[in-house]
C-alpha cells in the first residue's frame, strides 16, 4: 500500500476505535448485568452518558492546577496516536514511520503519568489513593508486558509492529509454546491494564470513588471517560494485532476494507465476551493480594522466554 493509502486507513481505524469504544464498554456492562441476573442498561447507554456529561457545568476543585485540566486531553490524544499506529484494519502498521512496539508500550505511560498526577493534584483523598493503586499495579504489569514484547520481537526479528503482525498473519511464525504462552501472558496483562476485576479498584465505585476520576465533572469527565473506553479498546486491538492479526487488508479495496472491519469487530467482541465472563467469575480481593496473580503472569512470560530459548 502507498503511504497515502496507509495514512487513510490509519485515520479511518482511529475514528472507528474512537466511535466504537463506548459501544464495547456498554457491551461489557450489559454482559455483566446479564451474568448477575440483572436487566442492565441499554447497549447505547454510554453514548447517552457522554452527551449528557458534555452539557453539564464543570466544577473544579480549588487545589487543582493545570495538570488536572490537561490530563483528559493527554489521555485521549495519546490513545488516538496508538490507535493510528496499530495494524488493525491492515496487516501493516498505518503509521509505522512514527515508531515501533517499544514506543507503543511506553506511550501508555504518558497518560498514566498525567492521570495519576491529576488524581493527587485534585486534592481529593480518593484520587490520591486510586492513583497510587493504579501505578502500583502497572509497575508490576510492565515487566510482563515488556518480556512478552521482547519474545515476540525476537521471534519476528524486529520490533516494528507491522513486521510482527505481518509475520504472524502469513504464518511465518509457526505457533510454538513460546507463542502461546506469550499470548496468554499478554492477554492477562491487557486484562489488568483494561481495569478489570480484581485488579482495578477504580471499578469499585463504592469504595474508591473511581480513583483518579473522583474529582472530575462535566466535559472533562466526559473526555476522560471516553479516553478510558478508548484505552480499553486500544489494548484489545494491540493484543489482536500481535497475536490474532487475521482478516487484515494487504491491499486497499472496498471488499477488503469491509471484511477487515467485520473481522476486527468480531474478534474484539469475542475478547470482551471472554473478559466479561472471567471478570464476573472472579471475586474482589484485597488490593495487596493482587501481586500474587501478577507473579503468575510474570511466570508465564518467563516460561515463554524459556521456551523461546529452547526453540519449542
Amino acid at each position: 500500500m502507498t503511504l497515502a493509502a496507509l495514512i487513510g486507513v490509519g485515520i479511518v481505524q482511529a475514528l472507528l476505535l474512537l466511535l466504537a469504544a463506548p459501544l464495547f464498554s456498554g457491551f461489557a456492562r450489559v454482559l455483566r448485568a446479564k451474568i448477575q441476573n440483572r436487566k442492565g442498561p441499554p447497549l447505547l447507554q454510554n453514548y447517552l452518558d457522554l452527551v449528557k456529561l458534555m452539557k453539564r457545568q464543570e466544577v473544579v476543585s480549588e487545589q487543582a492546577g493545570w495538570v488536572f485540566h490537561a490530563a483528559p486531553y493527554v489521555l485521549m490524544s495519546t490513545m488516538l496516536l496508538v490507535a493510528l499506529m496499530l495494524p488493525v484494519l491492515a496487516v501493516q502498521s498505518p503509521l509505522g514511520v512514527a515508531g515501533d512496539l517499544i514506543l507503543v508500550v511506553y506511550l501508555f505511560a504518558l497518560p498514566r503519568f498525567f492521570i495519576s498526577l491529576a488524581g493527587v493534584d485534585s486534592g481529593n483523598p480518593f484520587g490520591g489513593i486510586g492513583a497510587r493503586r493504579e501505578l502500583f499495579v502497572s509497575a508490576l504489569v510492565e515487566p510482563v508486558l515488556l518480556l512478552v514484547v521482547f519474545v515476540m520481537a525476537l521471534l519476528a526479528g524486529s520490533t516494528n509492529l507491522g513486521t510482527i503482525s505481518c509475520k504472524v498473519a502469513v504464518g511465518a511464525l509457526p505457533p510454538s509454546m513460546a507463542f502461546w504462552l506469550s499470548m496468554a501472558a499478554f492477554a492477562f496483562a491487557a486484562f489488568v491494564e483494561m481495569g478489570k476485576l480484581p485488579f482495578d479498584l477504580a471499578e469499585a465505585e463504592q469504595e474508591l470513588q473511581e480513583g483518579p476520576l473522583a474529582e472530575y465533572s462535566g466535559r472533562s469527565l466526559a473526555v476522560l471517560k471516553w479516553g478510558v473506553y478508548l484505552k480499553q479498546l486500544v489494548l484489545v486491538a494491540l493484543f489482536l494485532a500481535l497475536f490474532l492479526p487475521f482478516g487484515g487488508m494487504t491491499d486497499l479495496s472496498p471488499a477488503g476494507a469491509l471484511l477487515s472491519v467485520i473481522a476486527f469487530l468480531l474478534k474484539a467482541i469475542l475478547f470482551y465476551f471472554v473478559a466479561a465472563v472471567l471478570e464476573n467469575a472472579m471475586a474482589r480481593v484485597r488490593f495487596m493480594k493482587s501481586p500474587a496473580a501478577i507473579w503468575l503472569a510474570l511466570g508465564a512470560a518467563v516460561l515463554s522466554f524459556v521456551f523461546y530459548l529452547a526453540h519449542v
Partner: protein, 671 residues
C-alpha cells in the same frame, strides 16, 4: 589548534572565576562577576567541543615535561570533546544559577569553579600519572564542597564515607596504572594503546579499573555514599556531581577499557551489563521510598548510571565478539543517555534546590501546593520528571529506546549467556522504568500538587529570573535532545566509531532514528510529538460538536470528601504513596537497613580515627618538648631574679664570687 585554544581559554576562565570568587569578597557584585567569567569559560568549553568532535586528528597541546612521568599534555579527541561539551553545557546552567544563588558565596564559589576546571583536565589529559593527579584534585574539591554547607556530625561522617570510597577507588586505579606502567615503562596513553599486553594482565587491569570507576559512578553495590553526599552538598554541587562528575567515571571506563586497552574478553561487557541492571533496580526501588527530595534524586542517579552501564556493557560485549553493530548501538545508547541524564538531572536538582530554599525543608511530606506559588519552576520540574520517567517523546525515552534496541540486538547473537540475560536485563529496565514513573509522580505530587502541607510552602515565592533562565535552558535542552534525535544520534555514533575503532554506521535518516538496520525498528520523536499535540484537537472537536463549551466551568470549590469538611491533611503524602511497594518488596528494604549499618559504623570509625590522630599527633610535644621548654623558661625566670640592674649589687656579686673562688683555692691547698 583552535579547539585547544578554546579549551585553554575555558580552563583559564574557570580559574579566573575561582579567584574572583575567592578574592572578590562575599558581595553580590563579586558573585556575579565570577558567574559571568565562568559562563564565558563554559561557552568556550562548548565551542571547543563542537570544533573537536568531528576532527580526524586530535589537537594536542603540551604544557610541560616532567621526565619520570611524561608530558602534561591536553588532547581533545572525539571522546574527550564529548565530555568537554558536557561539562560546558551543564556549566552554563550552574554558572547562571550561581550568579543569583546566595549559597554560591566566596568559598563555595572558589571550590565550584576549580572543581569544574579539574573535571575539564580529567577528561582531556593524556597521561596516566596526571590523570590520577587531577582525578584526586577533583575528589578533594568535591569533598570540600560537600562538607562546607552543614558542618554537623552527620555531614562530617558523610564526608568521611565519601573520601573513603573515593580513595579505595583511587587506590585500585593507581594499582591498575602501575601495572600498565610496568608493562610499558610509560604513563603515556599513546604507548598504553600501542603496547602488547597479555590478556591475563588486561583482564586484571579491567577489573581494577571497573571497580575503581564504578565506585565513583555510584554503581550498585558501591552506591551507598551517593544519597548522603548529594543530600548534604549545596544544590548546584549536587547537580554538578550527579550530572557531570559521575560521568567522568564513565569517561574513564570508556577511555581505558574501550579505547586504550581494547576489549579482549566477552565477559567484561557481560559483568558491566549485570552490574548495570542491578543498579537500575536498586536505584529505582530505593528512590521510591525516599522522603528527602535530594536523596531521592540521588537514588534516581544510581538508576540512570545503571542504564548507562547497560549500554556500555552491550557495547563492550559487541567489541569482544566483533559485532560492530552491537557495539555501535550499545555505546551510542550509553553516551546518549549520559547526555540526557545530565540535562534532566541537573534541572531536577536545581529546581529541587529552589524548592528547598523556599520551604526550608528537604522533606517531601512538608511541601505541597507549590505549583500555584512557583508555576514556572513547577513546569520545568514536570518536564524534567517526564524526561526522567522516560515518557515519550522526551530525551529520556529516546536514549532508553536505543538501550532497548541494543539489548534486542544483543539477544539475537550467538552467545548463550547473552541470549538469556539480555532480555532479562530489558525486563529489569522495564521494571525500573515503571518504578521511575512512580517515583517522579510521587515527587511532583508531594512537592507541587495538591494542598500546601506547611506554612512555609503556603507562602513560597517563585524563583528569581536568573534561576528560571537556567532551568528553562536545561528544559529546552531536554526537548532538543529528545526531538532532535535524528540529528544528534549520528554525531554520537561518530564519537562511538572513534572510541571503539570501528567504521561509523548510519543510525538516522530524515526524521527517523533506527538501530543501524531500518527494518528492525524505526522511531521518529519529532513526528510522535507533533501527532500528540495535533491529536489534542480531537477531544476539543468532540466537545465543540456536542456543545460542551456552552456549559461553562465553576472553580474554587473544595474537593469532595464524603460530605465531611475538607482538610489538607486528607491529601496523599509522599510516605503513603509508596506503602504498597514497601509492603510487597519488604526484603529489598530490609536488606538496605541491614547494609546501611556497617557503613554508618565505617563512617563513625573514620571520624573517631581522625580524633585519635589529632590526639596522637602531639604526643612527642606533650611528653618531651613542652616540659623541657617549660623547665628552661622557669629557670630563666629564676635567673632573671638575680639581674636587678643596680651596679652595686653587681659589684657585690663580683666580690662574693671572688671570695668563693679564693676560699675554694686556698681551702683546698690547706692553708
Amino acid at each position: 589548534m583552535d579547539a585547544i585554544l578554546f579549551l585553554l581559554l575555558s580552563l583559564l576562565c574557570y580559574c579566573g572565576a575561582a579567584l574572583v570568587a575567592l578574592l572578590g569578597g562575599s558581595g553580590r557584585a563579586a558573585r556575579q562577576a565570577a558567574g559571568w567569567v565562568s559562563l564565558i569559560a563554559s561557552l568556550a568549553g562548548a565551542i571547543s567541543a563542537a570544533m573537536a568532535i568531528t576532527a580526524s586528528s586530535p589537537p594536542t597541546f603540551t604544557l610541560l615535561q616532567l621526565p619520570p612521568f611524561g608530558a602534561l599534555a591536553l588532547q581533545i579527541d572525539p571522546l574527550s570533546a564529548f565530555f568537554v561539551g558536557l561539562i560546558g553545557l551543564i556549566g552554563v546552567a550552574t554558572g547562571i544559577y550561581g550568579m543569583s544563588s546566595p549559597t554560591v558565596g566566596r568559598v563555595v564559589g572558589f571550590f565550584t569553579y576549580s572543581f569544574l576546571a579539574s573535571m575539564l583536565l580529567v577528561v582531556t589529559v593524556n597521561n596516566g600519572f596526571f590523570f590520577l593527579l587531577f582525578w584526586e584534585l577533583m575528589t578533594l574539591l568535591s569533598y570540600f564542597l560537600v562538607i562546607w554547607k552543614h558542618q554537623d556530625r552527620q555531614t562530617v561522617n558523610t564526608g568521611y564515607l565519601y573520601m573513603l570510597v573515593a580513595h579505595i577507588g583511587a587506590a585500585l586505579l593507581l594499582t591498575a596504572f602501575l601495572i600498565l606502567y610496568r608493562q610499558t615503562d610509560s604513563f603515556s596513553f599513546r604507548l598504553w594503546h600501542q603496547a602488547w599486553i597479555s590478556p591475563g594482565v588486561k583482564s586484571t587491569v579491567f577489573l581494577l579499573i571497573f571497580v575503581g570507576f564504578g565506585a565513583k559512578a555510584g554503581m550498585a553495590p558501591l552506591h551507598f555514599w551517593t544519597p548522603a553526599t548529594y543530600s548534604a552538598a549545596p544544590d548546584h554541587v549536587s547537580a554538578l556531581m550527579s550530572a557531570v562528575m559521575k560521568k567522568t567515571a564513565i569517561y574513564g571506563l570508556l577511555r581505558f577499557c574501550v579505547d586504550l586497552l581494547g576489549v579482549s574478553a566477552w565477559w567484561w561487557g557481560f559483568v558491566i551489563l549485570l552490574f548495570g541492571a542491578a543498579s537500575t533496580i536498586v536505584g529505582a526501588f530505593y528512590a521510591l521510598t525516599e522522603r528527602d527530595i535530594k536523596r531521592l534524586l540521588a537514588y534516581s542517579s544510581v538508576e540512570n548510571v545503571g542504564i548507562i552501564l547497560i549500554g556500555v556493557g552491550v557495547g563492550m560485549f559487541g567489541l569482544a565478539v566483533q559485532q560492530p553493530i552491537l557495539s555501535t548501538l550499545g555505546l551510542l545508547a550509553a553516551l546518549y543517555h549520559l547526555l540526557n541524564h545530565a540535562f534532566f538531572k541537573a534541572m531536577l536538582f536545581l529546581s529541587a534546590g529552589q524548592v528547598i530554599i523556599q520551604t526550608g525543608t528537604q522533606n517531601l511530606n512538608r511541601m505541597g501546593g507549590l505549583a500555584r506559588r512557583m508555576p514556572w519552576t513547577a513546569l520545568t520540574f514536570l518536564i524534567g520528571a517526564l524526561a526522567a520517567a522516560a515518557a515519550p517523546p522526551l530525551n529520556g525515552f529516546v536514549s532508553e529506546w536505543f538501550t532497548y534496541q541494543a539489548l534486542f540486538a544483543a539477544s539475537a547473537v550467538v552467545s548463550f549467556a547473552m541470549r538469556v540475560f539480555a532480555p532479562l536485563v530489558a525486563v529489569s529496565l522495564a521494571l525500573a522504568g515503571a518504578l521511575a514513573l512512580m517515583v517522579y509522580i510521587k515527587t511532583y505530587c508531594s512537592a507541587f500538587a495538591g494542598p500546601a502541607r506547611s506554612e512555609t510552602s503556603a507562602s513560597a515565592q517563585e524563583s528569581n529570573t536568573a534561576v528560571l533562565f537556567s532551568l528553562f535552558y536545561l528544559a529546552i535542552g531536554c526537548l532538543v535532545l529528545g526531538l532532535g534525535a535524528p540529528w544528534i544520534a549520528p554525531r554520537i555514533a561518530g564519537v562511538v566509531s572513534q572510541i571503539a575503532h570501528i567504521p561509523a554506521m548510519a543510525v538516522s535518516s530524515g526524521w527517523q532514528v533506527f538501530p543501524v538496520d531500518p527494518n528492525r525498528a524505526v522511531f521518529s520523536p519529532l513526528l510522535t510529538a507533533l501527532l500528540l499535540i495535533g491529536l489534542l484537537a480531537m477531544p476539543l472537536l468532540l466537545i465543540a460538536l456536542l456543545g460542551g463549551f456552552r456549559a461553562g466551568r465553576r472553580s474554587g470549590v473544595e474537593p469532595w470528601s464524603c460530605g465531611y469538611g475538607y482538610s489538607s491533611r486528607m491529601s496523599l503524602t509522599a510516605s503513603s504513596f509508596d506503602q504498597p511497594v514497601k509492603a510487597t518488596f519488604q526484603l529489598l528494604y530490609w536488606l538496605r537497613t541491614l547494609l546501611d549499618r556497617p557503613f554508618q559504623v565505617i563512617a563513625e570509625f573514620s571520624r573517631s580515627m581522625v580524633r585519635l590522630i589529632l590526639r596522637a599527633e602531639p604526643v612527642v610535644e606533650t611528653i618531651v618538648t613542652r616540659p623541657t621548654a617549660r623547665l628552661v623558661e622557669s629557670a630563666g625566670q629564676w635567673i632573671q631574679a638575680l639581674q636587678m640592674g643596680d651596679i652595686r649589687v653587681y659589684c657585690l656579686y663580683i666580690i662574693v664570687t671572688l671570695a668563693i673562688l679564693l676560699f675554694a683555692i686556698f681551702g683546698r691547698s690547706g692553708l
